[in-house]
Symmetry: D2
Subunit: 347 residues, 4 copies
Amino acid sequence: MQAATLHQYDKDMNVQLKLENVPSPTINAPDEVVVRVGAAGLCRTDLHIIEGVWRDTMDPEGSLLPYIMGHENAGWVEDVGSGVKSVKPGDAVICHPLRSCGICLNCRHGEDMYCDNGVFPGLGANGGFAEYFLTTERALIKLNKNVVPVDVAPLADAGITAYRAAKRAAKLLRPGTYCVVLGIGGLGHIALQCLHELCGTRTIAIDRSPHARELAKKYGAHHILDGGPDVIEQVHELTGGGAHVVIDFVGELGVENICWKMVRQGGQYFVVGYGGKIEIPTIHMVINEIQVGGSLVGNFTELVELMELNAEGRVHMQSSQYALSNINSAISDLKAAKMVGRGVIVP
Amino acid sequence: MQAATLHQYDKDMNVQLKLENVPSPTINAPDEVVVRVGAAGLCRTDLHIIEGVWRDTMDPEGSLLPYIMGHENAGWVEDVGSGVKSVKPGDAVICHPLRSCGICLNCRHGEDMYCDNGVFPGLGANGGFAEYFLTTERALIKLNKNVVPVDVAPLADAGITAYRAAKRAAKLLRPGTYCVVLGIGGLGHIALQCLHELCGTRTIAIDRSPHARELAKKYGAHHILDGGPDVIEQVHELTGGGAHVVIDFVGELGVENICWKMVRQGGQYFVVGYGGKIEIPTIHMVINEIQVGGSLVGNFTELVELMELNAEGRVHMQSSQYALSNINSAISDLKAAKMVGRGVIVP
Amino acid sequence: MQAATLHQYDKDMNVQLKLENVPSPTINAPDEVVVRVGAAGLCRTDLHIIEGVWRDTMDPEGSLLPYIMGHENAGWVEDVGSGVKSVKPGDAVICHPLRSCGICLNCRHGEDMYCDNGVFPGLGANGGFAEYFLTTERALIKLNKNVVPVDVAPLADAGITAYRAAKRAAKLLRPGTYCVVLGIGGLGHIALQCLHELCGTRTIAIDRSPHARELAKKYGAHHILDGGPDVIEQVHELTGGGAHVVIDFVGELGVENICWKMVRQGGQYFVVGYGGKIEIPTIHMVINEIQVGGSLVGNFTELVELMELNAEGRVHMQSSQYALSNINSAISDLKAAKMVGRGVIVP
Amino acid sequence: MQAATLHQYDKDMNVQLKLENVPSPTINAPDEVVVRVGAAGLCRTDLHIIEGVWRDTMDPEGSLLPYIMGHENAGWVEDVGSGVKSVKPGDAVICHPLRSCGICLNCRHGEDMYCDNGVFPGLGANGGFAEYFLTTERALIKLNKNVVPVDVAPLADAGITAYRAAKRAAKLLRPGTYCVVLGIGGLGHIALQCLHELCGTRTIAIDRSPHARELAKKYGAHHILDGGPDVIEQVHELTGGGAHVVIDFVGELGVENICWKMVRQGGQYFVVGYGGKIEIPTIHMVINEIQVGGSLVGNFTELVELMELNAEGRVHMQSSQYALSNINSAISDLKAAKMVGRGVIVP
């Protein structure tokens, strides 16, 4: 089958994915499933993988190279292992990004992404930028009727990352409160929609890009700011003392030290984007009693919930399609910020 | 009446409180109560007040000086305003440190210490290092039978600060988890006892002082460490991957950047002590999905709960008594770390 | 002033309210407030009060008669006691139905309606079917700009009863779940709107009346059933095993023993209406691990939240106006089910 | 191997289990595990199984007979399927009573006992009153060092049923509250210990049997009542208005309609025992805003937590041993209430 593989990490990102013919995956364990890829989302994390940002954590020796990238996958079941009961060939499915064991205590608590034995296809194991993709039964969710893989693939990772942050925020947000969403891109526009579905808060979307602010408007943000130099004061004035929750999809470039200053006493800052360093005096944390928390990709049940919202037309994903053979153009467009919505690779 | 007043802030802490005769407080509003002071706790925050650490927040002009210090007060009701119904002269009481309005939304949510109209006696208003002390009905809790003011005064602030942190931690801690308590002094020894009462976690007490480690042992810490240079590794090994919660009563001197490294994936770091600056890469926060939160003094209902635990003999406060006339010796002992347990000033 | 007073309880409801001239209320305590009534909602509970249903609980001797009825009040501040700081004459306000003390532990936990010293005007104390109404500062919420008393008065009791049930339900309802709302009248249509704002569940509205089903449709119920004899099976089929939550605004006439049969394993039944008796075998409760809970009028902060949703146009109250002089016609219409939406009495 | 099998249901319980030689179980699927039984608890549910109480739900045709009974099993791993990674032959283990799929949404939420594909050995499938027992990897928890199967087998079902109820209660119980535990037998004495570990409430143990009250005393109940005719009034007086939570391990014989009358406004009644019928007027539920909820056997992670408390010496199980060949004597003793603590069958 045709696949796009990564052969080396490159800090400067001059390297390209190699389009090559490789053997299709086959079933080797009773819980495995081969999925015919319908679409695979392209993610900013893919850029970071190529740059080697994740190398220390996931592949310190570089010994896992080469591998097929692509961790946001949807398609149709092609073949199943002997123990698989919940899906059958032909079923349209979306794939949770982690292959989790279902046995360890983290899995038992439902936090698949903490799985002691987790495998993350597309990062050290073969992913979905290919015609076929190998995963396990525990990763699969059947699509609702009338939902097609190409429309939903990026929900598998970008979508549930935004959903998880929004859901954690929603638990803290009563009617009359304010929630800042900073960065209205592929994740931010999902978070906005999820917040509006999950709670009665008022949203404040912040982005420097006029295009992103358009997106915020389209998805019903209650207030929209352009992230100028006085954004902290603007938020304090608008909210009467600070936002109850701030969700930060940037997490670098100094934004991470603007965000916690927007939070009111007793409030919460969720950081989802990464790259920067948070610096907070402990006296500020104590007097204001604020919380600062990282937020990771969502778990399996969160993907189930997001797929329901999507199937009911409550949460949409903006995307642009690229053929698998054009994947390196897609990567260039993503780097150059020329992509409209999420990029989706179609084999 | 005799009282100990602060006349100027002094960064070097050479200033002493002035013992002088001042008029006793009187009732001027229907909800006010005059308390005959039985005891008033001396707190590390008192040192910070004298140093002027709180000046910018609470008294930027210095115009509130002079005032009587003392914010951990217990005693007997002496006189009540016309609207007071829940206490009467002679009742033994402990005083929540804040005079809160009961009307603003923060009060309505039970978070008295966020009160929009709060007054904090002992910091910009007259406190309890005196024979009589003025507060309001909403601040008062009647003591259970057989409980005397001198045994409980420091619970009013130090106690509920530790209790609140322990209670927030307990909500996150199932049996089989680990909770680090760093700093086993006046607050830490209360937090240990509260954790043992409120949940089934295992506690790890950390302190460099042998005396503090003795205290940890006395109060049943399950593991005790001396906070040496490899403390992070020790905690990771003991816990199999990091503590589920870390409560930090130091919050400065570099401890604040050791603590978050002790936390396991999905875990929580509560910072209660202050003075330092937390510096965390956002990628660490996201990959490990940890939370870092400040924790403030407890609210009124938390003081009620702590008083019940204390009355039932489940939580004890260690203390040393000083006469009001010796308050400056008490302050010297606290500065020199010569005090055993909390200092309690008795008029 | 003119007022509508109840002079005797009457099981058969032949009694009418007496329109008479009585002295206007005056300020007698520092926290009291006189409100010029803009509108007062008429409630099914008013019928029950006249019938004497609440007599045993609230007025066993009948010694509190006569009193002015009306417990859903909104208007403008006319006069304030010496201690009142948060409102001033001329402010438009809505009145939480309970005068709570703010001192007892129930108030401190925010559950004003459990107040140890609560007074409920309109039931044993003078209410708002009059030109002026006496309450206390703690009961008042200032109206947002552009909100007028006549549009919101019934939110003060009917509204927050529905809101509280919906909020408790929303905490249990993830996207993909189902929530039954049974009885789409004055409370049910508010509950539907609140559910849609507070969580991502799917709603199933059930009512025997075609008019009520119209209302359900107008307010966006996802499924609408007519409550026929096979309603339990219909719900099980629609939901694939039972509703996650059922909210019952009837609570009598056998409905109360239909509702718990609609709940799936692990689900919740909230009963808001009353009059009947629930009979459940314990083995059914245990095997299915269902919860059955009463839900009362909301607390003060819940009214604040509902007023925000209302001011933002997210939750509307349907109503019909009657002059105070026509209050007995309004009562007749309510009894005869001829009223469209909630009845609102305007002095 | 030797095994005790049930060949027919009998309402009058004259039937005995048949001791016979049957083939030992063997591995037929990659996730299966054969356990050499160390001990198997005997449970009141076993009596109900023999009586046919569960027949309608679990075996309406009676077509599953005969089968080996016994659903509280602990022992040593004897053999494992090809996919099993977390245990190996020789490991000492306790078995969660349900074989759950790990794939359905209920399993993903951690509620194994709601599993869509669950099998309950000992009730329609072969259980552990035998030398060997077949289960699956997902049901197994390795025992901590120094813990032996015979000491813990009944924790597998009786233990986690009590633990789950206590844990749900503990979430509602602050210091200063009261929790009634009604029925201090095999489950009740575990619930008492768990409550004392999990929260700072005060416990009130109620039992008519002097022996049970002794047990309550041994395990530190704060108050002990004999369940006489004025028990409702006693509880109201002791608690100042009713218990915050009542846990009922009887659930029949009228006890179920005494329990909800002991609950204070805003409180909760958990019913664990079964056989009776709860009858509550809806007006009582609404005015008092009480909740009534069934509580089932605990899930896997709850068993993990309970095993930690047990290994640390915080929760003990009282038991009496019987040889497998004497199982019918054990059943007679249980029926005649002659058994001290839980009965444990040792093959």
